[in-house]
């Protein structure tokens, strides 16, 4: 729902060298929030940067009526977001887009996430945990220091494997053999991925080979996040034809096999 919300910030803390974590009080928000959806957040009140930035929902705490974001400090927008203090209000547009589909028939899923894509898949791991779907996650990052979501996923009951550049374990071949092992050993029902083109291609290949359904959460640079500006487009392949879609409106989660990865 494209709605602007001004909601209280409960916490906003640095959790590792490059990552921050923010909790928002959603008790005044009525919309239902699904894993994979995102909010378009105003990071500063200044004339620069003034455009909103998209962030996935990292955790949805329905009992406490809060949501959490995990964000990487990248440029000016995310730098300014770190300056927001508890007690101040956050200006959020959303929840936007369509989230993940967790088929009731699934009882074993495999997630592969790279970098901040982990934040996007965490809410899915949480949902899987809640629904009793077993979940294995392969998390890929530059360094161990960036794998802070690993514990959160473990708390949700996921079995977590990590690969990093630091340990020279994040190469596609290494991830591929881990994925094959998990898919075969655990009889995985579906694949989910976010955060890397290389991992997305790998997921597409393995999904096709093993005949598995899957979903991918895409990140495209956004303007409006309301379907108006056509900044965030990507192509889907359907019945042999390419169709342009807006990630903010029809995504950010798409069927794995349809996305044309450039």
């Amino acid at each position: 729902m494209m709605k602007q919300h001004l909601l209280p910030i409960l916490t906003n803390v640095q959790v590792s060298e490059r990552y921050w974590h923010m909790t928002i009080d959603t008790s005044n928000m009525n919309e239902r929030i699904e894993p994979g959806q995102f909010f378009h957040i105003r990071c500063s009140d200044n004339a620069f940067p003034f455009l909103r930035r998209p962030f996935s929902i990292y955790r949805i705490n329905r009992e406490e009526d809060t949501i959490e974001f995990l964000y990487l400090v990248k440029g000016e927008g995310t730098k300014d977001l770190t300056k927001k203090k508890p007690g101040e209000t956050a200006d959020l547009l959303g929840p936007l887009g369509y989230g993940f589909k967790l088929d009731p028939g699934f009882d074993e899923i495999l997630l592969t996430a790279r970098g901040v894509g982990i934040a996007t898949l965490a809410a899915l791991a949480q949902e899987a945990g809640r629904k009793g779907v077993r979940c294995t996650a392969i998390l890929s990052a530059r360094s161990k220091n960036d794998l802070l979501a690993a514990e959160t996923l473990q708390d949700f009951g996921a079995e977590v494997h990590h690969v990093t550049e630091e340990e020279e374990t994040s190469g596609v071949e290494s991830v591929e053999s881990q994925m094959r092992d998990i898919i075969e050993r655990k009889d995985v029902n579906a694949l989910y991925t976010c955060g890397s083109r290389r991992l997305s291609r790998l997921n597409q290949r393995l999904a096709a080979e093993y005949g598995l359904p899957g979903e991918i959460a895409l990140e495209e640079q956004m303007g409006c996040a309301m379907g108006a500006c056509f900044a965030c487009v990507c192509d889907l392949e359907e019945e042999g034809k390419h169709r342009s879609v807006r990630v903010c409106l029809e995504g950010p989660v798409f069927p794995l096999e349809k996305v044309v990865i450039s």
Partner: protein, 304 residues
């Protein structure tokens, strides 16, 4: 007693309930979830082309100081889809519908205006003459006074509904183009489209938008637009629709004082989805505060 202030304005034979409308390309049907379309002055959909077009490579937007550069291109489903879907979708609202047209040649402008300008649900046409003339020298139509005159004159012959020429600011003299559009039969002028701009990522040395260059919009361009509105108002009596960097009611009022009769709001909607109705409300507050009974009385009242 609350005074009844008049906010309606006229563009040729068309009356708008208030002077605030969206800028083409920064407004879409999905925004109805966040904005009450029935409150705005008019609906202006994204520019339409005759044939389907894919638009430019991504990234298509980037942010610069107090502005943004877009190189969307005109991603368009073509005229047939526009007639079948876009027009019915927008005609459901109770406000005038102004179709924005982009074309590759004067002939194509004429052909499209003949279709859209005689459609019962379309109230006015905005001709995006800032797009390149592919059958000419590739420069925008609106960069050449003679081309602008010929284009307006030929379109004028195929339709009776109000014609708005959306001028490009990327010219040496906006006055010359404004005069040519006026002489060619325009009923109003939108001043103006985006300014050609470029930004480079110094780490990768790559342009920030896929198309290398793009159009700058947002508060950064507003003083230039105010200047151009003022200059245009000196040479023509046509109503001017100010566009570029309107973020709030005060920006709209500034353009009106410079010579505009109405304003368009683009980039601001990306930040605040209710920007259009917020601007209307803030104009009303200004009118109350300055006891202005009719918004038209404010147009061109800059004291030099």
């Amino acid at each position: 007693m609350i005074a009844q202030r008049k906010m309606g304005i006229s563009i040729g034979s068309l009356t708008l309930p208030n002077p605030v409308m969206p800028a083409s390309g920064a407004f879409g049907p999905e925004m109805h979830e966040a904005l009450d379309f029935n409150q705005i002055g008019a609906i202006v959909p994204k520019s339409i082309t005759k044939h389907p077009q894919p638009g430019n490579d991504t990234p298509r937007v980037c942010e610069t100081y107090a502005g943004m550069i877009n190189s969307i291109g005109i991603q368009s489903k073509g005229l047939d889809a526009y007639l079948a879907k876009t027009i019915p979708e927008f005609s459901a609202y109770d406000v005038p519908l102004i179709s924005s047209i982009s074309a590759e040649s004067i002939d194509e402008f004429v052909e499209m205006s003949d279709v859209l300008g005689n459609h019962p649900d379309i109230d006015a046409l905005e001709l995006n003459i800032s797009c390149p003339n592919l059958k000419g020298d590739g420069h925008a139509f609106g960069m050449d006074a003679d081309v602008t005159y010929e284009l307006m004159q030929r379109v004028r012959k195929v339709t009776d509904i109000p014609l708005i020429a959306k001028l490009t600011p990327n010219v040496t003299s906006i006055q010359e183009i404004a005069k040519a559009a006026d002489a060619g039969g325009a009923d109003a002028l939108t001043v103006a489209n985006t300014m050609l701009a470029m930004a480079i990522d110094t780490e990768s040395r790559k342009p920030m938008v896929g198309n290398v260059m793009g159009g700058l919009s947002g508060p950064a361009v507003k003083p230039i637009m105010v200047r151009m509105i003022y200059q245009t108002a000196q040479v023509t009596d046509l109503p001017i629709i100010g566009c570029g960097g309107v973020m709030n009611g005060n920006d709209a009022i500034e353009m009106i004082i410079a010579g505009a009769s109405a304003v368009q709001v683009g980039t601001a909607s990306f930040i605040t989805p209710t920007a259009l109705t917020d601007v209307i409300e803030e104009i009303r507050e200004y009118m109350d505060r300055h006891d202005i009974m009719d918004i038209n009385d404010l147009t061109g009242t800059v004291e030099i």
